[in-house]
């Protein structure tokens, strides 16, 4: 019993039957049902999700794999500090030096603290490193036609001389108000978790690759949901990574 599923063609071919998916994307409305395999057909109908939507098990598997790829230290490895080192000088220092916590513990604690007490959105300008700035409110002057790297706003000038709009197409950029800029500059940092460039909804479908050889993943493994390029990589996939991260 093979554990591979040939995906229905995502191109607009109306004839039923199996072909390889060209590349990515999956339109459920065009999914033909193989009448000879009712179990699979039922599973497919039940799912009826876009091809980029994954089961909870698959999502867990992917998250575990990414965590593994992103890991800095192997927890199984214990490397002792060699030689003599300066002893801790204060109780604080001793506690910090002896801590065996990993980054995930700190990030979890940070999130928990944020839930308890949301960070006060206080203005933060007084002791910033940069010297004081002064914004011009004069109307923008006509821009250079082809501003180059030497254009005015890139040259550090005494702050009084800077017009932030000097070399900016006046039609494009409405003047920047001082209060707007102050609000931007005084906004507190995001938490680590908030800082990621999350995907917007409705983006292009994810590209799918063969789990074994890295070519386009045109066929889906029924056991684990991974893609393979064809029957050529089926055996290799099943004997290596199938269900590894599940």
């Amino acid at each position: 019993m093979p554990h591979v599923e040939v995906l229905p063609n995502s191109a607009s071919v109306s004839a039923p039957g199996w072909t390889y998916v060209v590349d990515t994307g999956y339109d459920p409305s065009k999914a033909p049902i193989n009448p000879k395999d009712r179990k699979r057909a039922a599973a497919r109908t039940q799912g009826r999700r876009g091809d980029n939507e994954l089961t909870a098990r698959q999502q867990t598997a992917i998250a575990r794999r990414i965590a593994e790829l992103d890991r800095d230290n192997d927890p199984k490895q214990q490397i002792a500090i060699p030689g003599k080192n300066v002893p801790a000088k204060t109780a604080n220092a001793r506690r910090i030096i002896q801590s065996a916590r990993q980054i995930k513990h700190w990030l979890d604690e940070e999130e928990a603290l944020a839930q308890l007490a949301p960070a006060p959105r206080t203005a933060a300008t007084s002791s910033r490193a940069p010297p004081s700035r002064k914004l011009s409110t004069v109307p923008p002057t006509p821009a250079e036609t082809t501003p180059g790297p030497t254009s005015g706003f890139m040259t550090p000038l005494p702050r009084e001389d800077i017009d932030p709009l000097l070399s900016i197409e006046k039609t494009m950029a409405p003047p920047l108000s001082e209060s707007e800029l102050d609000a931007l500059l005084s906004a507190p940092p995001l938490s680590y978790a908030e800082s990621f460039a999350t995907l917007p909804a409705g983006g292009p479908p994810q590209r799918q690759f063969c789990d074994n050889c890295g070519y386009w993943g045109k066929i889906k493994c029924l056991k684990c949901g991974a893609r393979i390029c064809g029957l050529e990589c089926k055996d290799a996939h099943e004997s290596t990574r199938c269900l590894k991260w599940a």
Binding site: D70, I79, I96, P147, P156, P189, F196
Partner: protein
């Protein structure tokens, strides 16, 4: 040089600053005298930020000692920095002591912290509890005379916008892309100040790329899961970024073995064989054009006499690994690629700033050295930036040391440095909570 004065008095600064860009992979460090005017990349020393242990020679290597290692096989690493933040102070302390304090050592930087300022960089969005740990260690354990901690890439604003500019003020609009070992961050800076709400981060960094190549090679060829050092070396030697998503697809075709009964020829301009080092005759490997006959030979089939070699064939791995910077979703990371993430970041800014940022994009960090990276980033960005915007993007001359040099420029200017440094007596009196608020630019009453 400014007049020296009394170094012990509270009103004068120590005359030198240890500028330390404390990366997860390497420390970038150098001592900068106050008022120095001939700052250059040369002043920066790059040393591994790790303690490595070899199960073969049973030796432990601390930071720069790694240069004495002759067998990188199965070398295990302990890294004090995780996800870009200093987490393990036992290890970081040992490395700092080894690299900066050891008075018996003959090489490297040596300083007495009690007579030295410390300018220390951190990654953006650092958990406040880790910042607190860091501040306490700097003052209570190392006892630096004065100290400033800030988000490293922001210091790139102190580079002159033009080579001969005499201004000491930070550049007004600057968009820094920092693609480093731990991750990739996008930092819009206004007059050197980070616009926090528009900062964006990608999980993909050099570490993830190396680990991905290690995973792929282990799956397809040999188990190399313990060979992180080697795989990093291979990644640096062979990887390249495809010029476009379309070209990526073409490369994928040209490096595919084909189907049973429809074998294809691998494109010899892409597919390579990496000759693995044996750590007896050779410490480093090298790449050469793919030879199908040779790569089929397994070790057992090779002659007992004469040279034996282990080959790692590299096809789509060469460009599919760094492609993650442009398509994190290729392995299921639900994040934008770098060009889209840049647009996401500047899209949060008012129009005037958006225009200014896109006209002054500077890329730092080691991943920007991957051949083809800058060309792809620029061409993908051009396709996303509206036609009426001026886009100017460049890579720093030395993208690894550039942030350090920016920090050194700040450290060399006593009047700027004075504004930001906190001295130990003040810390002892007011404590770490006060210090954290001061470095965050908040209320310090």
């Amino acid at each position: 040089m400014p007049p020296k004065g009394s170094r012990k008095s509270a009103s004068s600064l120590p005359t030198q600053t240890l500028v330390l860009d404390n990366g997860a992979y390497t420390l970038k460090s150098g001592l900068v005298p106050a008022g120095s005017s001939n700052l250059a990349y040369d002043g920066c020393t790059v040393t591994p930020n790790c303690i490595a242990r070899s199960s073969r020679d049973k030796r432990t290597y601390v930071s720069s000692e790694l240069s004495k290692c002759a067998d990188f096989g199965e070398l295990a690493f302990r890294r004090p920095v995780e996800k870009g933040f200093i987490v393990n102070w036992e290890a970081e302390k040992a490395i700092w002591e080894h690299e900066f304090l050891d008075s018996k050592a003959k090489e490297g930087l040596r300083c007495d912290p009690r007579e030295t300022n410390l300018l220390l960089t951190e990654k953006p969005n650092c958990p406040s509890l880790l910042q607190k740990n860091c501040d306490e260690i700097v003052f209570e354990q190392f006892e630096f005379a004065r100290y400033y901690r800030c988000v490293g890439p922001t210091l790139n604003a102190y580079h002159p916008a033009q080579p001969n500019s005499l201004s000491s003020l930070p550049q007004e609009c600057l968009l820094i892309i920092d693609t480093s070992y731990s991750d990739t961050t996008i930092l819009p800076l206004y007059s050197g100040q980070l616009i926090q709400s528009a900062l964006r981060r990608l999980t993909v960094g050099g570490k993830l790329l190396t680990n991905y190549l290690k995973e792929l090679s282990s799956l397809r060829h040999y188990n190399m899961m313990e060979e992180t050092y080697l795989l990093n070396e291979i990644k640096e030697a062979v990887s390249f970024v495809a010029p476009s998503a379309q070209q990526f697809g073409q490369n994928l075709e040209r490096t595919w073995k084909g189907r049973l009964g429809d074998k294809r020829n691998l494109d010899p301009t892409i597919v390579l064989d990496y000759v693995l080092p044996d750590y007896e005759q050779s410490i480093h490997g090298y790449a050469r054009p793919h030879d199908p006959a040779k790569s089929r030979m397994r070790r057992g089939l090779q002659p007992l006499q004469g040279p034996r070699e282990d080959l790692l064939p590299l096809g789509n791995e060469r460009f599919a690994v760094p492609e993650l910077l442009f398509h994190p979703t290729d392995i299921g990371i639900q994040e934008n690629g770098l060009p889209e993430a840049i647009m996401q970041s500047v899209g949060l800014l008012p129009e005037a700033l958006k225009v200014g940022m896109l006209a002054n994009v500077v890329v730092v960090g080691g991943n920007s050295l991957i051949p083809g990276f800058m060309e792809r980033l620029e061409s993908d960005l051009r396709a996303l930036v509206p036609a009426e915007y001026y886009l100017n993007i460049s890579r720093a001359e030395d993208p690894v040391k550039h942030t350090w040099l920016g920090a050194a420029r700040l450290a060399s200017q006593p009047e700027l440095l004075k504004e930001v440094l906190v001295d130990k007596a003040e810390y002892d009196e007011r404590g770490s909570g006060w210090l954290a608020r001061k470095f965050a630019g908040g209320d310090t009453k």
